[in-house]
Symmetry: C2
Subunit: 291 residues, 2 copies
Amino acid sequence: MQIIKTIAEMKETIQNKLPSTIGFVPTMGYLHEGHLSLAKEAKKENDLLVMSIFVNPLQFGPNEDFDQYPRDEKRDIQLAKEIGTDILFIPSVEEMYPTKSAIQMTILDRTNVLCGESRPGHFDGVITVLTKLFHIIQPTKAYFGLKDAQQIAVIDALIIDLNFPINLVGLPTKREPDGLAMSSRNVYLSNKEREEAVILYESLQKAKELIKIGTTFEKVKKVVENSIKEKITSAKIDYISIFSYPYLKKVNKTDNIIIAVAVYFEKARLIDNIILNQNGTQLKRFTRGEA
Amino acid sequence: MQIIKTIAEMKETIQNKLPSTIGFVPTMGYLHEGHLSLAKEAKKENDLLVMSIFVNPLQFGPNEDFDQYPRDEKRDIQLAKEIGTDILFIPSVEEMYPTKSAIQMTILDRTNVLCGESRPGHFDGVITVLTKLFHIIQPTKAYFGLKDAQQIAVIDALIIDLNFPINLVGLPTKREPDGLAMSSRNVYLSNKEREEAVILYESLQKAKELIKIGTTFEKVKKVVENSIKEKITSAKIDYISIFSYPYLKKVNKTDNIIIAVAVYFEKARLIDNIILNQNGTQLKRFTRGEA
Protein backbone atom coordinates (compact mmCIF):
# COMPACT_ATOMS: atom_id res chain seq x y z
CA MET A 1 0.00 0.00 0.00
CA GLN A 2 1.25 3.41 -1.00
CA ILE A 3 0.72 6.22 1.52
CA ILE A 4 0.56 9.66 -0.09
CA LYS A 5 0.45 12.94 1.81
CA THR A 6 0.68 15.60 -0.90
CA ILE A 7 -1.74 16.59 -3.63
CA ALA A 8 1.08 16.85 -6.19
CA GLU A 9 2.22 13.27 -5.58
CA MET A 10 -1.36 12.01 -5.55
CA LYS A 11 -2.15 13.68 -8.89
CA GLU A 12 1.06 12.43 -10.46
CA THR A 13 0.45 8.89 -9.25
CA ILE A 14 -3.09 8.86 -10.65
CA GLN A 15 -1.86 10.34 -13.92
CA ASN A 16 0.57 7.46 -14.31
CA LYS A 17 -2.05 4.82 -13.48
CA LEU A 18 -4.66 5.94 -15.98
CA PRO A 19 -6.79 4.53 -17.55
CA SER A 20 -7.44 2.05 -14.76
CA THR A 21 -10.82 2.18 -13.06
CA ILE A 22 -10.43 3.82 -9.67
CA GLY A 23 -12.68 3.10 -6.71
CA PHE A 24 -12.55 5.88 -4.13
CA VAL A 25 -13.58 5.73 -0.46
CA PRO A 26 -13.27 9.16 1.19
CA THR A 27 -13.26 8.95 5.00
CA MET A 28 -12.53 11.05 8.05
CA GLY A 29 -10.57 8.13 9.50
CA TYR A 30 -11.11 6.24 12.76
CA LEU A 31 -12.12 3.42 10.48
CA HIS A 32 -14.77 0.88 11.39
CA GLU A 33 -16.58 -1.96 9.63
CA GLY A 34 -18.73 0.58 7.77
CA HIS A 35 -15.72 2.12 6.02
CA LEU A 36 -14.15 -1.27 5.44
CA SER A 37 -17.27 -2.67 3.80
CA LEU A 38 -17.19 0.26 1.35
CA ALA A 39 -13.51 -0.42 0.70
CA LYS A 40 -14.13 -4.12 0.09
CA GLU A 41 -16.82 -3.36 -2.47
CA ALA A 42 -14.69 -0.67 -4.15
CA LYS A 43 -11.77 -3.10 -4.32
CA LYS A 44 -13.97 -5.71 -5.96
CA GLU A 45 -15.41 -3.37 -8.57
CA ASN A 46 -12.30 -1.42 -9.65
CA ASP A 47 -8.68 -1.91 -10.72
CA LEU A 48 -7.41 0.45 -8.06
CA LEU A 49 -8.67 1.19 -4.54
CA VAL A 50 -7.90 4.66 -3.21
CA MET A 51 -8.96 5.56 0.32
CA SER A 52 -8.54 9.00 1.85
CA ILE A 53 -8.40 10.04 5.48
CA PHE A 54 -9.06 13.72 6.07
CA VAL A 55 -10.95 15.28 8.95
CA ASN A 56 -12.33 18.21 6.99
CA PRO A 57 -12.53 21.36 9.14
CA LEU A 58 -14.83 23.01 6.59
CA GLN A 59 -17.71 20.67 7.44
CA PHE A 60 -17.59 21.25 11.20
CA GLY A 61 -19.50 24.15 12.72
CA PRO A 62 -17.79 26.48 15.21
CA ASN A 63 -19.38 24.62 18.13
CA GLU A 64 -18.89 21.14 16.70
CA ASP A 65 -16.30 18.50 17.49
CA PHE A 66 -13.50 19.12 14.95
CA ASP A 67 -10.73 19.13 17.55
CA GLN A 68 -12.27 16.25 19.50
CA TYR A 69 -13.13 14.15 16.45
CA PRO A 70 -11.54 10.73 17.15
CA ARG A 71 -8.29 10.05 15.29
CA ASP A 72 -6.01 7.01 15.16
CA GLU A 73 -3.84 7.19 12.07
CA LYS A 74 -1.62 4.26 12.95
CA ARG A 75 -4.56 1.89 13.36
CA ASP A 76 -6.28 3.30 10.24
CA ILE A 77 -3.17 2.63 8.15
CA GLN A 78 -3.07 -0.95 9.39
CA LEU A 79 -6.77 -1.53 8.62
CA ALA A 80 -6.53 0.11 5.20
CA LYS A 81 -3.58 -2.11 4.37
CA GLU A 82 -5.33 -5.28 5.51
CA ILE A 83 -8.36 -4.54 3.36
CA GLY A 84 -6.20 -4.26 0.25
CA THR A 85 -6.13 -0.48 -0.24
CA ASP A 86 -3.73 0.40 -3.05
CA ILE A 87 -3.28 4.06 -2.21
CA LEU A 88 -4.06 5.76 1.10
CA PHE A 89 -4.24 9.55 0.73
CA ILE A 90 -3.70 11.42 4.02
CA PRO A 91 -3.33 15.13 3.31
CA SER A 92 -2.88 17.73 6.05
CA VAL A 93 -5.28 20.63 6.50
CA GLU A 94 -2.55 22.95 5.19
CA GLU A 95 -2.22 20.81 2.08
CA MET A 96 -5.94 20.89 1.36
CA TYR A 97 -6.54 24.52 2.34
CA PRO A 98 -3.21 26.37 1.93
CA THR A 99 -4.96 29.73 1.58
CA LYS A 100 -8.47 31.05 1.98
CA SER A 101 -10.32 29.74 -1.07
CA ALA A 102 -11.58 32.28 -3.59
CA ILE A 103 -14.27 29.81 -4.64
CA GLN A 104 -17.27 29.25 -2.42
CA MET A 105 -19.54 26.29 -3.04
CA THR A 106 -23.01 26.28 -1.59
CA ILE A 107 -25.76 23.69 -1.80
CA LEU A 108 -29.25 25.18 -1.97
CA ASP A 109 -31.40 22.07 -2.17
CA ARG A 110 -31.81 18.88 -0.09
CA THR A 111 -30.30 20.64 2.96
CA ASN A 112 -33.15 22.53 4.61
CA VAL A 113 -34.25 19.33 6.37
CA LEU A 114 -32.70 16.58 8.54
CA CYS A 115 -29.09 17.28 9.57
CA GLY A 116 -28.79 20.25 7.21
CA GLU A 117 -31.19 22.19 9.39
CA SER A 118 -29.17 21.92 12.59
CA ARG A 119 -25.75 22.01 10.89
CA PRO A 120 -25.70 25.16 8.71
CA GLY A 121 -22.77 25.14 6.30
CA HIS A 122 -21.98 21.48 6.99
CA PHE A 123 -22.91 20.23 3.53
CA ASP A 124 -21.21 23.21 1.85
CA GLY A 125 -18.03 21.95 3.50
CA VAL A 126 -18.78 18.41 2.32
CA ILE A 127 -19.28 19.36 -1.35
CA THR A 128 -16.20 21.59 -1.32
CA VAL A 129 -13.83 18.95 0.03
CA LEU A 130 -15.30 16.27 -2.23
CA THR A 131 -14.96 18.48 -5.30
CA LYS A 132 -11.28 18.88 -4.43
CA LEU A 133 -10.79 15.17 -3.68
CA PHE A 134 -12.63 14.14 -6.85
CA HIS A 135 -10.30 16.38 -8.89
CA ILE A 136 -7.21 15.05 -7.13
CA ILE A 137 -8.13 11.33 -7.24
CA GLN A 138 -10.25 11.27 -10.44
CA PRO A 139 -12.23 8.20 -9.38
CA THR A 140 -14.43 6.10 -11.63
CA LYS A 141 -16.72 5.32 -8.71
CA ALA A 142 -16.99 6.97 -5.29
CA TYR A 143 -18.39 5.00 -2.35
CA PHE A 144 -20.32 6.28 0.65
CA GLY A 145 -22.31 4.72 3.46
CA LEU A 146 -26.08 5.11 3.45
CA LYS A 147 -25.94 5.86 7.15
CA ASP A 148 -25.14 9.40 6.03
CA ALA A 149 -28.10 9.33 3.67
CA GLN A 150 -28.45 13.09 3.39
CA GLN A 151 -24.77 13.31 2.51
CA ILE A 152 -25.34 10.90 -0.37
CA ALA A 153 -28.37 12.92 -1.49
CA VAL A 154 -26.19 16.05 -1.51
CA ILE A 155 -23.35 14.34 -3.40
CA ASP A 156 -25.94 13.05 -5.87
CA ALA A 157 -26.95 16.68 -6.57
CA LEU A 158 -23.28 17.73 -6.78
CA ILE A 159 -22.44 15.06 -9.34
CA ILE A 160 -25.52 15.65 -11.47
CA ASP A 161 -25.54 19.45 -11.43
CA LEU A 162 -21.82 19.86 -12.10
CA ASN A 163 -21.59 16.86 -14.48
CA PHE A 164 -18.80 15.09 -12.58
CA PRO A 165 -17.62 12.06 -14.62
CA ILE A 166 -18.04 9.88 -11.55
CA ASN A 167 -20.41 7.13 -10.53
CA LEU A 168 -21.84 7.47 -7.04
CA VAL A 169 -22.40 4.31 -4.98
CA GLY A 170 -24.21 4.26 -1.64
CA LEU A 171 -23.98 1.05 0.39
CA PRO A 172 -26.00 -0.17 3.40
CA THR A 173 -25.24 0.95 6.93
CA LYS A 174 -23.06 -1.48 8.88
CA ARG A 175 -24.44 -2.29 12.31
CA GLU A 176 -23.28 -3.69 15.63
CA PRO A 177 -24.79 -7.09 16.55
CA ASP A 178 -27.63 -5.34 18.46
CA GLY A 179 -28.42 -3.09 15.47
CA LEU A 180 -26.68 0.18 16.42
CA ALA A 181 -25.35 1.87 13.28
CA MET A 182 -21.56 1.92 13.27
CA SER A 183 -20.13 5.41 13.64
CA SER A 184 -16.78 6.86 14.66
CA ARG A 185 -18.73 8.97 17.13
CA ASN A 186 -20.05 5.92 19.03
CA VAL A 187 -16.90 6.06 21.19
CA TYR A 188 -18.37 9.15 22.84
CA LEU A 189 -21.25 7.15 24.36
CA SER A 190 -21.32 6.17 28.03
CA ASN A 191 -22.13 2.53 28.77
CA LYS A 192 -25.69 3.46 29.62
CA GLU A 193 -26.08 5.55 26.48
CA ARG A 194 -24.60 2.75 24.40
CA GLU A 195 -27.33 0.44 25.64
CA GLU A 196 -30.05 2.98 25.07
CA ALA A 197 -28.81 3.89 21.60
CA VAL A 198 -30.07 0.64 20.08
CA ILE A 199 -33.57 2.12 20.19
CA LEU A 200 -32.77 4.21 17.10
CA TYR A 201 -32.51 1.06 15.01
CA GLU A 202 -35.36 -0.71 16.77
CA SER A 203 -37.75 2.17 16.26
CA LEU A 204 -36.82 2.41 12.56
CA GLN A 205 -37.60 -1.28 12.14
CA LYS A 206 -40.94 -0.70 13.81
CA ALA A 207 -41.54 2.23 11.44
CA LYS A 208 -40.79 0.02 8.46
CA GLU A 209 -43.43 -2.50 9.49
CA LEU A 210 -45.98 0.24 10.12
CA ILE A 211 -45.37 1.80 6.70
CA LYS A 212 -45.74 -1.60 5.06
CA ILE A 213 -49.26 -1.88 6.43
CA GLY A 214 -50.15 1.63 5.26
CA THR A 215 -49.86 3.61 8.50
CA THR A 216 -49.83 7.38 7.93
CA PHE A 217 -46.42 9.06 8.17
CA GLU A 218 -47.62 11.27 11.02
CA LYS A 219 -48.63 8.21 13.03
CA VAL A 220 -45.36 6.44 12.22
CA LYS A 221 -43.31 9.41 13.39
CA LYS A 222 -45.29 9.57 16.62
CA VAL A 223 -44.64 5.88 17.30
CA VAL A 224 -40.90 6.35 16.69
CA GLU A 225 -40.85 9.37 18.97
CA ASN A 226 -42.63 7.53 21.78
CA SER A 227 -40.34 4.50 21.46
CA ILE A 228 -37.24 6.68 21.75
CA LYS A 229 -38.57 8.75 24.64
CA GLU A 230 -39.61 5.63 26.52
CA LYS A 231 -36.16 4.07 26.25
CA ILE A 232 -34.08 7.22 26.75
CA THR A 233 -35.82 9.33 29.35
CA SER A 234 -33.39 12.21 28.88
CA ALA A 235 -33.38 11.96 25.07
CA LYS A 236 -33.21 15.17 23.10
CA ILE A 237 -34.61 14.30 19.72
CA ASP A 238 -33.28 16.46 16.89
CA TYR A 239 -35.62 15.10 14.24
CA ILE A 240 -37.77 12.18 13.17
CA SER A 241 -38.53 12.67 9.50
CA ILE A 242 -39.96 10.90 6.48
CA PHE A 243 -39.12 12.16 2.99
CA SER A 244 -38.67 11.07 -0.59
CA TYR A 245 -35.17 9.87 -1.35
CA PRO A 246 -32.78 11.26 -2.59
CA TYR A 247 -34.89 14.40 -3.11
CA LEU A 248 -35.77 14.92 0.55
CA LYS A 249 -39.15 16.34 -0.34
CA LYS A 250 -42.73 15.33 0.39
CA VAL A 251 -43.17 11.67 -0.63
CA ASN A 252 -44.87 10.87 -3.93
CA LYS A 253 -46.21 7.44 -4.76
CA THR A 254 -43.26 6.49 -6.96
CA ASP A 255 -40.46 7.67 -4.68
CA ASN A 256 -38.12 5.81 -2.39
CA ILE A 257 -38.87 6.73 1.22
CA ILE A 258 -36.33 7.62 3.89
CA ILE A 259 -37.20 7.44 7.58
CA ALA A 260 -34.46 9.27 9.46
CA VAL A 261 -33.78 10.06 13.10
CA ALA A 262 -31.21 12.12 14.98
CA VAL A 263 -30.85 12.08 18.76
CA TYR A 264 -28.52 14.09 20.99
CA PHE A 265 -26.65 12.16 23.66
CA GLU A 266 -24.42 13.87 26.18
CA LYS A 267 -21.28 13.98 24.04
CA ALA A 268 -22.56 12.79 20.68
CA ARG A 269 -25.38 13.31 18.27
CA LEU A 270 -26.28 10.01 16.61
CA ILE A 271 -28.16 9.55 13.36
CA ASP A 272 -29.75 6.56 11.72
CA ASN A 273 -32.16 5.87 8.88
CA ILE A 274 -33.70 3.27 6.66
CA ILE A 275 -34.58 3.75 3.01
CA LEU A 276 -37.47 1.78 1.53
CA ASN A 277 -38.09 1.39 -2.15
CA GLN A 278 -41.55 1.39 -3.67
CA ASN A 279 -42.39 -2.18 -2.70
CA GLY A 280 -41.43 -1.55 0.93
CA THR A 281 -38.14 -3.45 0.96
CA GLN A 282 -34.96 -1.82 2.20
CA LEU A 283 -32.67 -0.22 -0.40
CA LYS A 284 -29.54 -2.32 -0.87
CA ARG A 285 -27.54 -0.01 -3.09
CA PHE A 286 -28.03 3.59 -4.18
CA THR A 287 -26.38 4.42 -7.50
CA ARG A 288 -26.12 7.36 -9.83
CA GLY A 289 -24.40 7.11 -13.20
CA GLU A 290 -23.57 3.77 -14.75
CA ALA A 291 -22.38 2.21 -11.46
CA MET B 1 -14.87 16.91 -37.37
CA GLN B 2 -17.38 15.38 -35.01
CA ILE B 3 -20.24 17.64 -33.89
CA ILE B 4 -21.70 16.64 -30.53
CA LYS B 5 -24.80 18.17 -28.96
CA THR B 6 -25.41 16.09 -25.84
CA ILE B 7 -23.44 15.76 -22.63
CA ALA B 8 -23.91 11.98 -22.61
CA GLU B 9 -22.38 11.58 -26.08
CA MET B 10 -19.57 14.01 -25.27
CA LYS B 11 -18.66 12.12 -22.07
CA GLU B 12 -18.79 8.78 -23.81
CA THR B 13 -16.63 10.01 -26.69
CA ILE B 14 -14.00 11.39 -24.31
CA GLN B 15 -14.09 8.19 -22.27
CA ASN B 16 -13.26 6.19 -25.38
CA LYS B 17 -10.42 8.51 -26.44
CA LEU B 18 -8.55 8.48 -23.13
CA PRO B 19 -5.68 8.75 -22.37
CA SER B 20 -4.96 11.19 -25.21
CA THR B 21 -4.05 14.74 -24.28
CA ILE B 22 -7.02 16.99 -24.87
CA GLY B 23 -6.76 20.68 -25.72
CA PHE B 24 -10.00 22.53 -24.98
CA VAL B 25 -11.12 25.91 -26.32
CA PRO B 26 -14.44 26.97 -24.74
CA THR B 27 -16.15 29.76 -26.70
CA MET B 28 -19.49 31.54 -26.97
CA GLY B 29 -19.23 31.22 -30.75
CA TYR B 30 -19.28 33.92 -33.43
CA LEU B 31 -15.69 32.87 -33.91
CA HIS B 32 -12.95 35.29 -34.92
CA GLU B 33 -9.17 35.19 -35.26
CA GLY B 34 -8.83 35.33 -31.48
CA HIS B 35 -10.65 32.04 -30.98
CA LEU B 36 -8.92 30.49 -33.96
CA SER B 37 -5.46 31.37 -32.68
CA LEU B 38 -6.32 29.59 -29.41
CA ALA B 39 -7.53 26.59 -31.40
CA LYS B 40 -4.36 26.48 -33.52
CA GLU B 41 -2.17 26.46 -30.44
CA ALA B 42 -4.36 23.83 -28.71
CA LYS B 43 -4.20 21.68 -31.83
CA LYS B 44 -0.41 21.91 -31.88
CA GLU B 45 0.05 21.01 -28.22
CA ASN B 46 -2.46 18.15 -27.82
CA ASP B 47 -3.58 14.90 -29.42
CA LEU B 48 -7.19 16.04 -29.59
CA LEU B 49 -8.73 19.49 -30.10
CA VAL B 50 -12.15 20.02 -28.56
CA MET B 51 -13.91 23.33 -29.06
CA SER B 52 -17.24 24.24 -27.46
CA ILE B 53 -19.79 26.82 -28.51
CA PHE B 54 -22.23 27.78 -25.78
CA VAL B 55 -23.67 31.21 -25.09
CA ASN B 56 -23.95 30.79 -21.33
CA PRO B 57 -27.03 32.55 -19.94
CA LEU B 58 -25.64 32.29 -16.40
CA GLN B 59 -22.90 34.82 -17.10
CA PHE B 60 -25.19 37.51 -18.52
CA GLY B 61 -26.83 40.00 -16.20
CA PRO B 62 -30.58 40.70 -16.47
CA ASN B 63 -29.88 43.88 -18.47
CA GLU B 64 -27.10 42.41 -20.57
CA ASP B 65 -27.08 41.19 -24.15
CA PHE B 66 -27.79 37.44 -23.86
CA ASP B 67 -30.59 37.47 -26.44
CA GLN B 68 -28.72 39.87 -28.73
CA TYR B 69 -25.35 38.17 -28.39
CA PRO B 70 -24.22 37.52 -32.00
CA ARG B 71 -24.64 33.93 -33.20
CA ASP B 72 -23.74 32.23 -36.49
CA GLU B 73 -23.55 28.50 -35.95
CA LYS B 74 -23.18 27.59 -39.61
CA ARG B 75 -20.16 29.82 -40.10
CA ASP B 76 -18.68 28.73 -36.74
CA ILE B 77 -18.91 25.07 -37.75
CA GLN B 78 -17.12 25.85 -41.02
CA LEU B 79 -14.33 27.77 -39.26
CA ALA B 80 -13.90 25.14 -36.55
CA LYS B 81 -13.60 22.48 -39.22
CA GLU B 82 -11.04 24.44 -41.25
CA ILE B 83 -8.84 24.95 -38.20
CA GLY B 84 -8.69 21.19 -37.57
CA THR B 85 -11.07 20.88 -34.63
CA ASP B 86 -11.60 17.19 -33.80
CA ILE B 87 -14.76 17.59 -31.74
CA LEU B 88 -17.12 20.57 -31.69
CA PHE B 89 -19.42 20.51 -28.65
CA ILE B 90 -22.58 22.59 -29.11
CA PRO B 91 -24.96 21.88 -26.22
CA SER B 92 -28.30 23.65 -25.84
CA VAL B 93 -29.20 25.68 -22.77
CA GLU B 94 -31.63 22.91 -21.78
CA GLU B 95 -28.84 20.36 -22.04
CA MET B 96 -26.49 22.37 -19.81
CA TYR B 97 -29.13 23.56 -17.31
CA PRO B 98 -31.99 21.04 -17.40
CA THR B 99 -33.16 22.04 -13.91
CA LYS B 100 -32.35 24.74 -11.42
CA SER B 101 -28.95 23.76 -10.05
CA ALA B 102 -28.76 22.82 -6.36
CA ILE B 103 -25.11 23.82 -6.36
CA GLN B 104 -24.17 27.48 -6.36
CA MET B 105 -20.61 28.50 -7.13
CA THR B 106 -19.41 31.94 -6.14
CA ILE B 107 -16.05 33.60 -6.58
CA LEU B 108 -15.08 35.88 -3.71
CA ASP B 109 -11.67 37.14 -4.85
CA ARG B 110 -10.31 38.87 -7.97
CA THR B 111 -13.82 40.11 -8.85
CA ASN B 112 -14.35 43.30 -6.86
CA VAL B 113 -12.44 45.27 -9.51
CA LEU B 114 -12.48 45.75 -13.31
CA CYS B 115 -15.42 44.06 -15.06
CA GLY B 116 -16.43 42.20 -11.91
CA GLU B 117 -17.50 45.46 -10.35
CA SER B 118 -19.99 46.42 -13.04
CA ARG B 119 -21.10 42.85 -13.84
CA PRO B 120 -22.20 41.29 -10.53
CA GLY B 121 -22.60 37.52 -10.82
CA HIS B 122 -20.90 37.42 -14.22
CA PHE B 123 -17.86 35.49 -13.04
CA ASP B 124 -20.00 33.17 -10.90
CA GLY B 125 -21.67 32.20 -14.16
CA VAL B 126 -18.28 31.75 -15.82
CA ILE B 127 -16.86 29.43 -13.15
CA THR B 128 -20.07 27.40 -13.03
CA VAL B 129 -20.23 26.72 -16.76
CA LEU B 130 -16.49 26.01 -16.92
CA THR B 131 -16.68 23.57 -14.02
CA LYS B 132 -19.40 21.72 -15.93
CA LEU B 133 -17.51 21.86 -19.25
CA PHE B 134 -14.26 20.76 -17.60
CA HIS B 135 -16.05 17.73 -16.12
CA ILE B 136 -17.69 16.89 -19.43
CA ILE B 137 -14.60 17.36 -21.64
CA GLN B 138 -11.83 16.45 -19.15
CA PRO B 139 -9.18 18.52 -20.93
CA THR B 140 -5.45 18.33 -20.32
CA LYS B 141 -5.09 22.01 -21.18
CA ALA B 142 -7.74 24.73 -21.45
CA TYR B 143 -7.07 27.78 -23.61
CA PHE B 144 -8.36 31.33 -23.15
CA GLY B 145 -7.55 34.70 -24.68
CA LEU B 146 -5.78 37.26 -22.51
CA LYS B 147 -8.18 39.91 -23.79
CA ASP B 148 -10.47 38.61 -21.07
CA ALA B 149 -7.66 38.90 -18.55
CA GLN B 150 -9.89 39.00 -15.49
CA GLN B 151 -11.63 35.87 -16.71
CA ILE B 152 -8.26 34.10 -16.83
CA ALA B 153 -7.45 35.37 -13.33
CA VAL B 154 -10.75 33.96 -12.11
CA ILE B 155 -10.21 30.59 -13.85
CA ASP B 156 -6.72 30.53 -12.35
CA ALA B 157 -8.29 30.77 -8.87
CA LEU B 158 -10.90 28.15 -9.79
CA ILE B 159 -8.30 25.64 -10.95
CA ILE B 160 -5.99 26.19 -7.98
CA ASP B 161 -8.58 26.31 -5.22
CA LEU B 162 -10.56 23.30 -6.43
CA ASN B 163 -7.47 21.33 -7.60
CA PHE B 164 -8.71 20.78 -11.16
CA PRO B 165 -6.31 18.42 -12.97
CA ILE B 166 -6.10 20.91 -15.84
CA ASN B 167 -3.41 23.22 -17.18
CA LEU B 168 -4.57 26.75 -17.87
CA VAL B 169 -3.13 28.57 -20.89
CA GLY B 170 -3.73 32.26 -21.62
CA LEU B 171 -2.66 33.50 -25.06
CA PRO B 172 -2.19 37.06 -26.39
CA THR B 173 -5.10 39.15 -27.63
CA LYS B 174 -5.58 39.03 -31.38
CA ARG B 175 -5.96 42.46 -32.95
CA GLU B 176 -7.23 44.08 -36.13
CA PRO B 177 -4.52 45.70 -38.31
CA ASP B 178 -5.10 49.07 -36.56
CA GLY B 179 -4.75 47.49 -33.10
CA LEU B 180 -8.40 47.07 -32.01
CA ALA B 181 -8.74 43.91 -29.93
CA MET B 182 -10.85 41.31 -31.73
CA SER B 183 -14.20 40.67 -30.05
CA SER B 184 -17.50 39.18 -31.09
CA ARG B 185 -19.08 42.38 -29.78
CA ASN B 186 -17.19 44.60 -32.27
CA VAL B 187 -20.07 44.03 -34.72
CA TYR B 188 -22.17 46.32 -32.53
CA LEU B 189 -19.97 49.35 -33.32
CA SER B 190 -21.06 52.05 -35.77
CA ASN B 191 -18.50 53.07 -38.38
CA LYS B 192 -17.59 56.15 -36.39
CA GLU B 193 -17.28 54.15 -33.16
CA ARG B 194 -15.16 51.55 -34.94
CA GLU B 195 -12.69 54.27 -35.90
CA GLU B 196 -12.66 55.77 -32.43
CA ALA B 197 -12.29 52.40 -30.71
CA VAL B 198 -8.65 52.06 -31.77
CA ILE B 199 -7.83 54.56 -29.02
CA LEU B 200 -8.17 51.78 -26.41
CA TYR B 201 -5.14 50.02 -27.86
CA GLU B 202 -3.22 53.21 -28.59
CA SER B 203 -3.64 54.54 -25.07
CA LEU B 204 -2.51 51.20 -23.59
CA GLN B 205 0.65 51.34 -25.70
CA LYS B 206 1.26 54.86 -24.44
CA ALA B 207 0.74 53.60 -20.88
CA LYS B 208 3.30 50.87 -21.44
CA GLU B 209 5.95 53.35 -22.48
CA LEU B 210 5.18 55.61 -19.53
CA ILE B 211 5.46 52.73 -17.07
CA LYS B 212 8.76 51.68 -18.58
CA ILE B 213 10.23 55.09 -17.71
CA GLY B 214 8.89 54.92 -14.17
CA THR B 215 5.80 57.14 -14.38
CA THR B 216 3.48 56.78 -11.39
CA PHE B 217 0.37 54.68 -11.93
CA GLU B 218 -1.87 57.65 -11.09
CA LYS B 219 -0.21 59.72 -13.78
CA VAL B 220 -0.40 56.85 -16.30
CA LYS B 221 -4.11 56.38 -15.69
CA LYS B 222 -4.72 60.11 -16.16
CA VAL B 223 -2.89 60.06 -19.50
CA VAL B 224 -4.96 57.08 -20.68
CA GLU B 225 -8.16 58.79 -19.57
CA ASN B 226 -7.30 62.02 -21.39
CA SER B 227 -6.34 60.14 -24.58
CA ILE B 228 -9.66 58.30 -24.63
CA LYS B 229 -11.74 61.38 -23.85
CA GLU B 230 -9.96 63.39 -26.52
CA LYS B 231 -10.67 60.80 -29.22
CA ILE B 232 -14.18 59.82 -28.17
CA THR B 233 -15.93 62.94 -26.99
CA SER B 234 -19.01 61.03 -25.85
CA ALA B 235 -16.98 58.22 -24.23
CA LYS B 236 -18.31 56.76 -21.04
CA ILE B 237 -15.31 55.20 -19.37
CA ASP B 238 -16.14 52.28 -17.08
CA TYR B 239 -12.63 51.89 -15.67
CA ILE B 240 -8.94 52.51 -16.26
CA SER B 241 -7.08 50.33 -13.77
CA ILE B 242 -3.62 49.06 -12.95
CA PHE B 243 -3.23 45.97 -10.77
CA SER B 244 -0.98 43.01 -10.08
CA TYR B 245 -1.71 40.03 -12.31
CA PRO B 246 -3.36 37.55 -11.87
CA TYR B 247 -4.07 38.68 -8.29
CA LEU B 248 -5.75 41.96 -9.22
CA LYS B 249 -4.42 43.65 -6.11
CA LYS B 250 -2.15 46.61 -5.46
CA VAL B 251 1.07 46.07 -7.43
CA ASN B 252 4.15 44.80 -5.61
CA LYS B 253 7.61 45.05 -7.10
CA THR B 254 7.76 41.40 -8.15
CA ASP B 255 4.31 41.19 -9.74
CA ASN B 256 3.19 41.20 -13.34
CA ILE B 257 1.19 44.38 -14.03
CA ILE B 258 -2.10 44.63 -15.88
CA ILE B 259 -3.30 47.91 -17.35
CA ALA B 260 -6.95 47.47 -18.25
CA VAL B 261 -9.64 49.67 -19.73
CA ALA B 262 -13.36 49.36 -20.37
CA VAL B 263 -15.38 51.87 -22.38
CA TYR B 264 -19.11 51.98 -23.11
CA PHE B 265 -20.10 52.62 -26.70
CA GLU B 266 -23.72 53.00 -27.74
CA LYS B 267 -24.46 49.29 -28.18
CA ALA B 268 -21.33 47.69 -26.83
CA ARG B 269 -18.97 47.84 -23.91
CA LEU B 270 -15.42 47.16 -25.10
CA ILE B 271 -12.50 46.04 -22.96
CA ASP B 272 -8.79 45.84 -23.60
CA ASN B 273 -5.61 45.39 -21.58
CA ILE B 274 -1.92 44.74 -21.66
CA ILE B 275 0.00 42.69 -19.14
CA LEU B 276 3.63 43.54 -18.47
CA ASN B 277 6.05 41.27 -16.69
CA GLN B 278 8.66 42.53 -14.29
CA ASN B 279 11.07 43.75 -16.95
CA GLY B 280 8.37 45.77 -18.69
CA THR B 281 7.85 43.48 -21.69
CA GLN B 282 4.41 42.24 -22.64
CA LEU B 283 3.34 38.83 -21.36
CA LYS B 284 3.27 36.30 -24.21
CA ARG B 285 1.70 33.36 -22.43
CA PHE B 286 0.05 32.96 -19.05
CA THR B 287 0.20 29.43 -17.68
CA ARG B 288 -0.82 27.63 -14.54
CA GLY B 289 0.07 23.99 -13.96
CA GLU B 290 2.64 22.23 -16.09
CA ALA B 291 1.43 23.76 -19.37
